[in-house]
Every structure is written in C-alpha cells, then in structure tokens.
Amino acid sequence: MAIEITMPALSPTMEKGTLAKWLKKEGDTVEAGDVLAEIETDKATMEVEAVDEGTIAKILIAEGTDDVPVGQPIAILAEEDEDPANVCVASKAEAAPAPAPAVEAPAAAPAAPIAAAPTLADPAIPAGTQMVSLTVREALRDAMAEEMRKDGDVFVMGEEVAEYQGAYKVTQGLLQEFGADRVIDTPITEHGFAGLGAGAAFSGLKPVIEFMTFNFAMQAIDHIINSAAKTRYMSGGLVQCPIVFRGPNGAASRVGAQHSQNYAAWYAHVPGLKVIAPYDAADCKGLLKAAIRDPNPVVFLENELMYGESFDVPDLDDYVLPIGKARIYREGTDVTIVSYSITVGEALKAADKLAEQGISAEVIDLRTIRPLDIETVIESVKKTNRCVVAEEGWPQCSVASDVSAQLMEKAFDWLDAPVTRVNSVDVPLPYANNLEKAAVVNADKIVEAAKAVCYTE
C-alpha cells in the first residue's frame, strides 16, 4: 500500500504554508531521514524529512504553491514492493467519518435580523488616507524600524531578536538594517536583561525589551515593577525609565498552562506603568510607536495568534496613536461589548451573530489597559444601558472585574442589567484540544452573555 505524505504542521499555530521547493522528484528513492522538501511558514523555512523509505510515485502539490493546508497530501510514496507507476492509496478523506452535523438549537421565535454595523474607521486616521494591508507582525516590525531610524537611542534587545530574526519573526530584518550594536541577542536571562534594560533607560536610552513570551517575563517582573515602574516616583522625578517591554501574551495554540497566561491585569495593577494590548495591525503600529516615544515604562502585550493576521494600516510616514484611548470598533445600540487584544475578534464575531438575532451590539476595543479609558465605555453604556466585558484570561481580579466595578461606581444609574464578565475558565489552561477550546473565551460565550443582559432567550 502506498503512503501519503501530507503537509506537516511545523509550529503550534501553523494552519497552512508554502511548499517552497521539492528536493526529490518523481521516481527518486528515499531513505527515512532524507530531506524531501522545504516548507515556508510565516515564521520560518523548514525542511520536511521522509519518515518512511520508498520511491516517490507522485508529487501532488507543485513547488511554489502557497497556502497549502496542514494535513493535505503533497506526495505519494510507493513502498518497496510496489510499482510506483501504479500506486493505490486508501484516501484518508474517504475513510474519515463525516463530521457530526452541528446541533441547531430550535430557534424560539427569533427576532428579525438586523444589518451588522460596519467597522468604524479609527477617528485618528485622516479622511482619504491610503491604506496598505499588513500583518500584525509586519506592523510591529515597521513601528520599531521607524522609531530606530528616527532616534539613535532606541535599541532592541531580547532572546533570538537578531540573528534568528525573532522567535516569532517580529524583529525580521532589524539586525540587517541597524547592526549588532542596536539589535542585541541576549542569553536566556530574562531577569538579567530586563534589569539591564531598565538601567540603560535610567541613563536616558530607550530600550525595547522583547520577551519571547510574557510567560517568561515572570522571571523579570521584579525589574518591570520595582525598578522600572517605581523609580520615577521614588526619586521625586529625578530618574526616568523610558523603556518598552514587549512580546506575545496570552494563550497561543495548545502550548499548555505555563505558556498561555494573560498578564494584562497583573501589569495594569501597577501605577507607574502604561499597559497596551492592541488588536489590529494599525493599532499595533500606531501604539508601539507611541510606546517607544513615551517617557514612561510601557508594557506592550501582543498575541501570537494575531501575528499572521492582516489588516488595513494607514500608509502614512509617521502613524502614531495616543496611548489611553479606547476605540469604538463597531457602533450599536442594544448592548456594549468591551474587550481588548485577540478577544476583540471574538467580540466582532459575536456582534455579527447578535445582529442576526436582532440585537445591535457596540464593540469597544480598550487598546490601552492602563490608563484605562473608562469614559468611552461609560458614554457607550449611557446609550446601550447594558454591558458585557470579554477577556481571554482568568476572571478574578481581571481587567473585566475592574471595568465592571468602575461601571458600578460611575454609571450605576445608566445600567438596566448587571455588567457581565466573560472570562476564560478559572483553571490553568489545559492541553487537550477540546478542553482548551472549552476554557477560552469565544464568540458564542459572548453572545450568550449579551443575550442574558438583554433579557432575551
């Protein structure tokens, strides 16, 4: 029986890739361990090795093909006793059981659907601005590169930021443009290089410290809080610390409990820090540039799952956004959904689903967690009188808790229903696919909460 060679998954988040090059051709014999092909993901170019020995009977995907989904057959390998010209493959697709049909809950007299409101343009973008499509990863890289071109005091430091081009390729090309004095690979030393960066910032340099993920920044949190955030105050304003700590934050894809935590609430707790957690590429660019220019220590929380997502970004020479301003991503009248970072995407999906059911949801992206733009949320709640706060992260002492508390204090009389939090489940994030999905926030959970505060079934 011939063997199907399928597109391999080469990283936890990879869904598709480019088949860059075949190193074997039809008719070649291969040994286990031979390199068959090169696959490009958005992060790296990887070699695919043969697991079995045999003869390449057929190449199914030509080299240069983009967006080949993980699991798709790319070649057929004839085994030793088979005729490569006449192979027979038991198609996995045929053998696989058909997916169970989704169980539709009987719609109980659904309200008339309404048209989903369009995404609002950021008011900070001048009308008529040309837009360019960039991934979040490119937008972040461009933000750093632009600031480094402008200011020689800005440098980037972290693990694998230089020669490896970034563990998640966010710093791609910076070493080549700015050289090894300004793009600096560190040893695996989070505590040490966070402190080193803070010390350099005391003297007026503007370090951008990349953590490979914020999960590893727990090794460094003493310097972020005790050294970076508090020194201006403790020195009566004599010593500044203009530093950015940035990197991916929150759950990625099946990397388990120690690599999947959201730290927004931890850092947002601390006076002396600014905390930014943007969703789309334009905000990533405009806010990272603002963070690098800010004279205060800034914690800039990215999301690995968003790095490859593309968005329109204003094609401006110097696109900088104000820190501390939330953005109404979509207008609505019945319920306000407040969120930030990757969960904004789920909130937008939820708003679409709610529109189908006749509920008009306003989606607010906080963008900055500290200082928190509660005024924008209050203004929205004055209109909708109902609010759901959605956040990927644990519920207790969360950003959602704080937004809820502030609404209770400052907008109590405007509320027609209790503010409801939609958080990740209160457990360390599990590995199993089904458990992980069950633990994190998704659009359906937001829809459920929004309907509950609207008192609709």
């Binding site: 803070a198 201006r232 105050y233």
Partner: protein, 343 residues
Amino acid sequence: MTTAKTTKKAAKPTRRRAAKPALYEASNDELIEFYRQMLMIRRFEEKAGQMYGMGLIGGFCHLYIGQEAVAVGVQTALKDGDSVITGYREHGHMIAAGCDPRGVMAELTGRSGGVSRGKGGSMHMFDPARGFYGGHGIVGAQVSLGTGLGFAAKYRKSDNVSIAYFGDGAANQGQVYESFNMARIWNLPVIYIIENNQYAMGTSVARASSEIELYRRGESFRIPGKQVDGMNVLAVRAAMDEAVAHCRAGEGPFILEMKTYRYRGHSMSDPAKYRSKEEVQKMRAEHDSIDQLKQMILDQGIMDEAGLKDIDREIKAAVADAATFATECPEPDLSELYTDVLA
C-alpha cells in the same frame, strides 16, 4: 554588540586572583580629603542612628558605619560621567558621591527637602546629576541595573564606567550571574564592588556561600577579580585604579571584593545576636579605617591633633546643620502624593 573580543580571548582564560596588596600613593592633601570624607560619613551615620532613636526617621535604616573606606576609595577614583548604583545601605555612597547631606538627611526624615522630596526614604535615594542612580531596596536588583548603566556607557561610545555595589548577601542572587555573563559577553565597563561585611543580615558568609572567596565568583565568566582590604582606603583606591583602567581600556568588567565590616546591626532594629560583642570590638580596635588613616596622618606629620580636631568640628557642624534642616523642613505637600507617577 561586538563579540569578537570574547571569541578571541576564549583560548586564553583571564583568571586573575588576589595579587599582592598594593597601596595607593596619596598626596598629603588627598590623605586629608579621604579622612575628611570618611569622617563625614561616620558622623552623618551616627547622627542618623540617633535621629532614628528619636523617632524622626521611620521604616528601615541601614547604617554604613565601619565601611567608610570602601565608598571613599571607590568614589575618588571616578570621573565625571561615571555612574554609581547600590543597594539600600547607600547613605555613605551618596555622601562620597558629593550629594548634599541636607538632602540626604531630609530624605531620611521624609521631608520636602529630601533628595526624593520625601517620597523615596532611606533605601530609595537618587542624584543622577552626580551619577548616583540609587538606592535600591531589592537585594541584587542594582547589579542588573548597574550592568545596564555600563551598557549605556558603551552604547554611547564613551569611556565612562559603571560602579555596581552589592553585598555578600546579594552575591548569592541569580541575577548577579546573569549580569556577569552579559557584562563579559559584551565587555561592558562595569566594576562590581562586593562589599563583604561578612553578614547578610544575620547569616555569615560561611553559612550562606559555597565559595566564600567572593572575588572568585566571576571566574567561570572569565571576569578578573581581586580581594581588597576594605578597611584601608589606600588599598581600596589602588584596586579601583587598576579596575577603572581595565574598564576604560575596553577590557570588560572587573570584580573587587572589599573585605569590610559593619559595626552596627543590619538595620536599626537588629540586635546583632549572631556575632559576639568581642568580634565587633576587635574590628573597631584593630582595623578601623578612620583610626588607621588618622594615625598615618599624625605619624607622617601631615597634620597635628589640633588640625584634625578642626576638621572634626567642621564636620560636626555640617552634620548638625543637615539634621536641623531635616527636622525643620516641612513634610511634602499633600499634592505631592500624585506627582512623579508618570512623566
């Protein structure tokens, strides 16, 4: 950062250990100045202890009495643009760095005239105009921060050096070794001054350290280290001159272990039951840095008793003035509560 140097040196380890003790050849004026500064620190700290007892100083207060030769020997080897960072036993380092005694004392009393306008306290004082970057309350944090100040000096292509003081207690913190490693990879101009006063709070070096010769702690990072008699200002200064020359020449970091002793407890609230009164008495009687220097000045006829008495009187007056300022100066305005959180 360039790593070429490290690669080249890898074949030939630079593992310097304690060389013969050298003494700085000070001029007569320098000897008098060292004496004046060391005495100033001692009298300042005695006054701080007294004021703590009177309830004028709150919180923790860690006195430098006994260790004066280290701060003075180190600081006098520096030039403009060099930086100093240290832990929470920093009053002496500040006085040596030329910070205003009034501002330091008023910070201890938490008044508006304090160097941090009353918002830092004994452990958190800064004076960047004099290259003094604190004053840090977390044991060992200043080692990474000081390495960053050294990084900045090199980034700016200056020949300035960064001094990172820490104690025998901090020498067991992990980030110290993370910093040593980076400082050597990138040959940063950092001089690590380990003030080994032999007790980390109440735990002696022997009980807490597998390698008690702390100057050797840099060996596996190929950082040269020297052990120095920290009770002799001339030994401290001579070692510093060597370390500073090494750093300014771009040769990378240097470790100086200063063998010293604190006469008082770890903080004002420490009864120091972990060591005998005799041990303290013996150090004071036989090794006191100020007594040694005074004797040398008298023996060499550089100044007579009367001249030294005059210095003593001047210092007492300056300390009294600082204490009066720190007592009479008002507390910070309540509006100060909200300032300096962000720029």
